[in-house]
């Protein structure tokens, strides 16, 4: 049976044959570019039937964010792209082993969730996504400064910036008021005074100095920077950690640990402080917004000593207190990488472009209520910020000043090595366990030299 064809390739019945469709959408995609082309064609693109796209992300600390992706965005993207997109969410700590195994074997997921500066680490195995990154920049404002040293390699975007989990100090408003602090301390000296009084009342500050990927480095690196310390100079080749600023920061930490902190924090992972805070054991702790969000969502369960929902007494300080050199946070910047071994690179790019379309990203962004902020600056002006609770509003501009490890040099693979070895975290951990501040800094200098100068 044959179908009579019109000149434009459509059959009389109005159907478009496959060859014509490919031609049309291909031209449209070429002219309009990527996702616009697909939408202009009003048809799913011509990916071979049964094409699958495998996407791996972490288990979000805000479970609703995963629900939004799995139950709404992924099916919609599959429909729009004409391919089967599958999202697999796994423990954050398991993503690196998965990436390593995938790269070494040359098979695995097409798109991986990337943290911090991983594009530097896996640069040889990632696809250049500058085209879609630049399109998003054009459409939604520039990326925050932290992405350039971490996601760009030689001027090319080797990862697609997605979002930043801002850290903030969650604190008990009434408890701080009890010791005379009507607002969160602005400097570390003020913080020492306030939390010394609180610890005497059995309400210490909670901080981990354990081997965790989140809360320990996001505290230790900013403490170092706020006192004027840095791992290397701007070249990234000379270790400069053994400075007056670093020694001062370590001495300060020794006093702060003893006078103000829960000393069990040396063994905490990234969840201990959440549990301890919700149990009323801590007056303050550095964390993402999850302490507040969980306390609000479980208000019947998580209550303060008066029996009131605890979330009503929780507030956030957007940055750790200032040191002599200023206030510089280390936030958890994330994005996605398309793997070079993937046979669906074009589809993967189209998918990321779809994901970052304003109307799609917006839905995910709103579900997060500030826990994760966008990678581009224009989202600071989104109406959501005026609608969410006041303690969550501190995250609106949180990502502006964030730095990344390796500072003041580039955030290279060597910076990751130093980070993975917990050298900066352990410098403080050793000092609070009794090592002299100067010796702890000297130890860190020796280790960093082996990494950066070796």
């Amino acid at each position: 049976m044959t179908t009579e064809k019109r000149e434009d390739g459509a059959s009389k019945s109005g159907q478009v044959d496959r060859r014509t469709f490919i031609k049309t959408t291909g031209v449209a995609a070429g002219v309009a570019g990527g996702i616009e082309g697909i939408l202009a064609a009003r048809r799913a693109p011509a990916f071979a039937q049964g094409t699958k796209l495998h996407w791996v992300r972490w288990n979000d600390f805000i479970p609703e964010a995963d629900v939004e992706l799995k139950t709404r965005q992924v099916p919609e993207a599959s429909k729009a792209l004409g391919a089967e997109v599958t999202l697999e969410t796994i423990n954050a700590n398991d993503i690196q082993p998965r990436i390593t195994a995938a790269i070494q074997s040359g098979s695995g997921a097409d798109i991986f969730h990337l943290f911090y500066n991983w594009p530097q680490l896996y640069q040889n195995s990632l696809v250049d996504v500058s085209d879609i990154a630049n399109a998003v920049v054009k459409d939604q404002g520039g990326f925050y400064d932290v992405y350039k040293p971490s996601f760009q390699v030689g001027g090319k975007w080797m990862g697609m910036p997605h979002s930043i989990v801002g850290n903030a100090v969650a604190y008990r408003r009434s408890w701080l008021k009890d010791v005379g602090a009507t607002e969160y301390p602005k400097t570390w000296d003020e913080a020492l005074k306030v939390f010394t009084l609180l610890k005497k009342k059995g309400r210490p500050y909670g901080q981990t100095l354990g081997h965790t990927f989140g809360d320990a480095p996001t505290f230790a690196y900013p403490l170092l920077w706020n006192f004027g310390g840095a791992e290397t100079d701007a070249s990234g080749k000379k270790v400069v950690i053994n400075s007056k600023g670093t020694v001062e920061s370590v001495k300060f930490m020794q006093a702060f640990w003893k006078e103000a902190c829960d000393e069990g924090g040396l063994a905490w992972d990234d969840t201990n402080n959440n549990r301890a805070f919700h149990a009323g054991e801590l007056s303050a702790t550095l964390n993402g917004a999850s302490i507040y969000i969980v306390a609000k969502r479980q208000k019947e369960k998580i209550k303060d000593e008066k029996g009131e929902p605890m979330y009503l007494d929780i507030d956030h300080a957007g940055l750790l207190p200032a040191g002599p050199a200023g206030q510089f946070p280390l936030y958890f910047s994330t994005g996605h990488g398309i793997m070079k071994y993937s046979k669906n690179q074009k589809l993967a790019k189209d998918f990321l472009a779809w994901l970052h379309k304003k109307e799609n990203f917006e839905k995910w962004f709103q579900v997060n209520e500030g826990y994760s902020v966008a990678a581009t600056t224009s989202w600071e002006n989104h109406p959501m910020w005026s609608k969410i609770d006041k303690p969550l509003q501190v995250f609106r501009t949180a990502a502006r000043k964030t730095r990344i490890f390796g500072h003041a040099g580039p955030s290279s693979g060597k910076a990751t090595e130093a980070f993975s070895k917990y050298i900066v975290v352990d410098m403080y951990a050793k000092a609070v366990q009794g090592m002299k501040a100067e010796d702890a800094v000297k130890w860190a200098e020796g280790e960093l030299k082996k990494v950066y100068e070796g």
């Binding site: 905490w268 992972d269 280790e447």
Partner: protein, 322 residues
């Protein structure tokens, strides 16, 4: 139409006799192969050789190659000789890790042996419910390490430790014990958990060894005036020694290469005080992407474990010779 079969029964036999003599068929190729002992041996050994090659030899040789190269994730690297080993040896974290691994293995093995032996001697006696006790003793060994270590981590939790709570409520302590937040305490906690987990393996194996010792020997020793200690030292121990050596060697290998327990319990912290060779190799190889350096660190285990196995083999050969 079917052909008549030579040598068939009944009427067929007569027909066959009238036909020219058919020579017996030579054995088939497969039969000849199977009859060749050398070929058959090779054929039967092949699956084992393939499995050993794929799962033991290849990863091992790959590990050696990686340790001698600058391979990182996604970068094949080049041959760098022993520089990864030299770098590791001069690394102060590695030195701590190396010491930790020996300390952890030594004490955990001693405790497992002592307590396992004690348990085996107890279970070798007759008492009511012996079978249930023997079966339940294996529980720590059966539960997945990750799961049981999580449970222990909860018990040693810096804030919510049930052990601290009990000690505090009963008035034994006034401040929390720093189970996992002090380096030395954390290491002893890890040794304790490893002992708890590994002791049943010692106990059950030693118990099996004890059951092979004839009661007549003990009876004879008793008649000769040997007390309980003498019987243990002069009769039980010499006969149990071969089993003990094997168990100890297996335990050393497992403990020296332990990963899950430390990874879940402390992640190597605080300040590297519980890091072992395997966890440090993982940290460098996977988290930093330095596969070459990670492989070099894990290969530091090889000479130690090789020496242990060599001693064991020598000992067993000596026993066989005797």
């Amino acid at each position: 139409m079917k052909k008549p079969i030579a040598g068939g029964s009944g009427g067929a036999a007569g027909i066959a006799a009238a036909l020219p003599h058919v020579r017996a068929l030579p054995p088939g190729r497969l039969t000849r192969w199977l009859e060749n002992e050398r070929l058959l041996a090779g054929f039967l050994l092949a699956p084992t050789v393939v499995i050993l090659t794929v799962f033991i030899a290849y990863p091992f040789l790959m590990g050696i190659w990686l340790s001698l190269s600058s391979t990182s994730v996604g970068n094949p690297g080049k041959f760098v000789g022993l520089s990864n080993f030299v770098k590791a040896w001069n690394d102060s974290i590695f030195q701590v890790v190396f010491r930790n691994t020996f300390f952890y293995t030594f004490w955990a093995t001693i405790f497992k042996l002592a307590l396992g032996m004690w348990l085996a001697l107890l279970l070798n006696r007759h008492f009511r419910g012996k079978r249930i006790v023997r079966a339940s003793m294996l529980l720590p060994f059966i539960i997945p390490t990750v799961l049981s270590t999580f449970a222990w981590r909860w018990m040693f939790d810096p804030t919510f430790s049930v052990v601290n709570w009990v000690l505090y409520q009963t008035g034994f302590i006034v401040t929390k014990l720093p189970f996992l937040s002090d380096g030395a305490w954390a290491m002893w906690c890890a040794i304790l958990i490893n002992t708890w987990r590994g002791m049943p393996f010692f106990a059950i194996t030693l118990l099996a060894g004890l059951q092979t010792i004839s009661p007549d020997l003990h009876e004879a020793a008793s008649l000769d005036g040997a007390n309980a200690w003498h019987r243990l030292w002069r009769v039980t121990w010499p006969l149990l020694k071969p089993v003990t050596v094997v168990v100890v060697v297996f335990s050393i290998i497992q403990t020296f290469a332990d990963f899950q327990l430390i990874y879940v319990l402390t992640g190597g912290g605080p300040a590297n005080s519980t890091h072992l060779l395997s966890t440090y190799a993982y940290q460098l190889g996977v988290n930093s992407g330095l596969l070459g350096e990670g492989a070099a660190i894990s290969l530091f285990m090889f000479p130690v474990l090789f020496a242990v196995v060599w001693i064991q083999l020598r000992y067993i050969r000596r026993l066989e010779g005797a």
